[in-house]
């Protein structure tokens, strides 16, 4: 078991390292001199050189990568060029919006999808199954930002139940914050839930065709009990895999959705940074998001071992 865990962990770290090389390398080849960009076109050559020296831009590439990575790992993301504050402060300030949004969406999508998948699988081929899956088929096709626009139109503009956008800050009370995040979370969660429900159903149906299900039925267990006690846990592995992959889509979705609802999250920060060519911020936010995706996938890998005893003894 420890061998499996250590291997997955090592793979996670390796992936993280490679990903950091990619991020660093890509933003390194960006045309234009960051020092020149910062100082503007009419700065003197001497001033630019001084800044380059100060920013460490004259050091060899590998040294700069190692320094950057070491600093990043310790939470020192550098200083934003436009805001002139440490990037970590900017990120932390935005994370309190983005992270709850992503988690809320993930929770919503799981809570909707797994029961829907179970429900459809248990009634396979009947009307309830066809209807649920037809709905899911449509759900998969809906872009989350369009759903967001429709939700704003119906609930904010038309019914005036929730604010159309913006974020009051957690300082104005927990529920006010949740209320502002609810609609974006629903917009993010529904299309993901549709995908997850389809995966849950087909994983369950595949498992229900296995020989050991027949063995369990031959023991005299009723269908429902077999579904819960035997099928669900075996079907969990593909479901977990998709949930891990979905986290990446959810993060990307968060970035877009924040623009629809004018939420001051990481996504807004990223877009502002791009338009202002604040590359240190871009680099940091991307690295952070990529790291989050990798960490979640390592967690998914580790959770396989909890579900499947075969992995605990292998290798």
């Amino acid at each position: 078991m420890t061998a499996y865990l250590l291997k997955r962990l090592a793979i996670g770290i390796l992936t993280l390292l490679f990903a950091s090389v990619v991020v660093f390398a890509v933003l390194e080849v960006v045309p234009g001199d960051p020092a020149r960009l910062m100082l503007g076109m009419n700065a003197t050559e001497d001033a630019v050189q001084a800044l380059r020296e100060q920013m460490g831009l004259n050091l060899p590439l590998v040294t700069r990568y190692v320094t950057w990575l070491a600093a990043f790992a310790t939470g020192d993301f550098g200083r934003s060029l436009t805001y002139s504050v440490p990037v970590i402060d900017l990120v932390a300030e935005r994370l309190v919006v983005s992270l709850p949004l992503a988690l809320l969406a993930l929770a919503l999508s799981t809570v909707i999808a797994i029961p829907a998948g179970l429900f459809a699988a248990a009634r396979r081929g009947r009307f309830a199954d066809t209807a649920t899956m037809g709905l899911a088929q449509v759900g998969v096709a809906i872009p989350n930002f369009w759903l967001a626009l429709l939700l704003v139109y119906v609930f904010a503009v038309w019914l005036r139940l929730v604010p159309a956008g913006g974020f009051p800050g957690w300082g104005n009370g927990f529920w006010a914050g949740i209320k502002a995040l609810l609609m974006p979370a629903v917009a993010l969660a529904l299309p993901q839930a549709a995908i997850l429900a389809r995966v849950t159903r087909s994983a369950l149906i595949e498992v229900l065709g296995e020989d050991y299900i027949r063995t369990a039925r031959a023991k005299g267990l009723p269908r429902r009990r077999v579904l819960w006690r035997h099928a669900l846990r075996n079907a969990l592995i593909p479901v977990l895999t998709i949930m891990g992959l979905q986290f990446a889509f959810l993060l990307a979705g968060t970035i877009i959705i924040e623009n629809v609802f004018y939420l001051p999250g990481l996504g807004r920060l990223l877009f502002q940074a791009i338009t202002q060519r604040d590359l240190i911020v871009v680099e940091s936010v991307i690295m952070l998001l990529v790291a989050a995706v990798i960490v979640v996938n390592v967690l998914v890998d580790l959770s396989y071992a909890a579900v499947d005893p075969r992995l605990r003894t292998r290798r």
Binding site: A3, Y212, T215, A218, K219, G220, V307, D308, R310, T313
Partner: protein, 553 residues
Amino acid sequence: MAQTLLHIENLSLAIGKADILSHVDMRIDRGEVLGLVGESGSGKSMTALAIMQLLPHAAHASGRILFDGADLLTRTEDQMCALRGDDIGMVFQEPMTALNPVKTIGEQVAEGIRWHTRCSRAEAEERTRAILDRVGLPQSRFPLSRFPHELSGGQRQRVVIAIACALKPRLLIADEPTTALDVVLQAQILDLLRDLVEENRMGLLLISHDLAVVADMADRLVVMRHGKVMEQGETASTLKRQEHPYTRQLAEASMHVPAARQAAPARPRTDDAGGNASPETPPLLAVDKVVRDYAGRRTSLFSRPAPFRAVDDVSFSMEPGHSVALVGRSGCGKSTLARMILALDQPTGGAIRLAGQDLSHLEGEALRPFRRRMQVVFQDPYGSFNPRHKVERLVAEPLHLLDSQPSRSERRERVAEALAEVHMPPDSMDRYPHEFSGGQRQRISIARAVITRPDLIVADEPVSALDVSIRAQILDLFAELNGKLRLAYLFITHDLTVARAITDEVMVMHEGRIVERGSTADVLSAPRHEATRALVDAAPDLERAIARRLSRA
């Protein structure tokens, strides 16, 4: 007198528009063993599932299945749940997949006990221990916390039997319970079933394609074909009289010896059939001190994995036209050896020579002239063809080994010729493999093997996936081609009947080594090594089984 436990009356079953069973009648008394024999597609498994009411969704059954006088077809699902696992237990064919991989064996056995008896967890565990101990999985070596993947196939089948027998059902249904196991395990599992049934006076419905297995176990016999009962009666007399032509056909097929071989006297080992083999001529195939190691499983993170030796210092030789059987239990290394002979795998040590030339370290193009001289026939007539190619292309594949590629018309001609050798019409060449039956596919597979006119054919369990009657025809074909094309065969099999039917010599492999070798008749009638004896004793033998039944009666 005995009371009727299960009475199937006029049972018909259709799945969608396909009729699976028609007007089936059979009866099992308390404590009686009923054997149900039939070839694939005879509807024997569906009969079992109909009793359990675990039929596929689209199935529609009519007639009556009386269990203790009550019709199971009219029972509600809840009532059936109360019966299943408590009064009727079932054992399935494939032990590798019959257990839930994410639950311990203890949980899986205890589950049924708790569900039916509503007893406490502790009590269920106690009973689970007792039944696992009874089926030969003692607590000292097989604690309840074991997972299925930690057990071998035979051990898993014991767990499945424990699940089925935990509550001492009055009827046990065993659907091909030993088909996936080798002969020695088969004998052990059958013994276990027999004892359990006797101890608890259970009725047993034993389903098998193997007449010899059923003859050995069953008091009475039902022979099915195409969803109909052909004949039923007391086992020994039914098999003795063989009144029904289909029963006779089955019995004859399972004792079949190809005509071509009966005629030819068993050739002595030094036979130089060509008449001109001088002592200098190297043998067709010489296997010399061959060893094959595989990287073992790492037991902990820091220990070096111990290599697993699949083939251990094996040496033998074969002459042209010779037919040799390589027999052994599953996992003894026989298939690994075959793959190395075919140069599909490289030995860790030793040499494999074809006509004097060492192949063991040749690769790619260098093997071409040798590959032409040896070909292969596999077990599974369904898996051995690319389903997307037509027969012409499939059979012609080895022609790739020729130095000059034949023209299209030449190619068709050679394919037609090869098909003729195996008695398939030339128009088969424009059809896809799925259009043929299992036996026909195996013929096509042989046609592919003979198209380059090889000297040696390695056949890996070539008939074990076939029904007995088809099996006999394919064995005849092998024998015929042996005489006509002077082919040497290396038959890999766990089935001694096949070895007896078709080979001059037999080699017995056990734990990677060849432990006994000699003329087939000698080795099988007077086995010297323990491993050989175990195989011979365990092999189901129809004649012996009938004789035993008659003497008991």
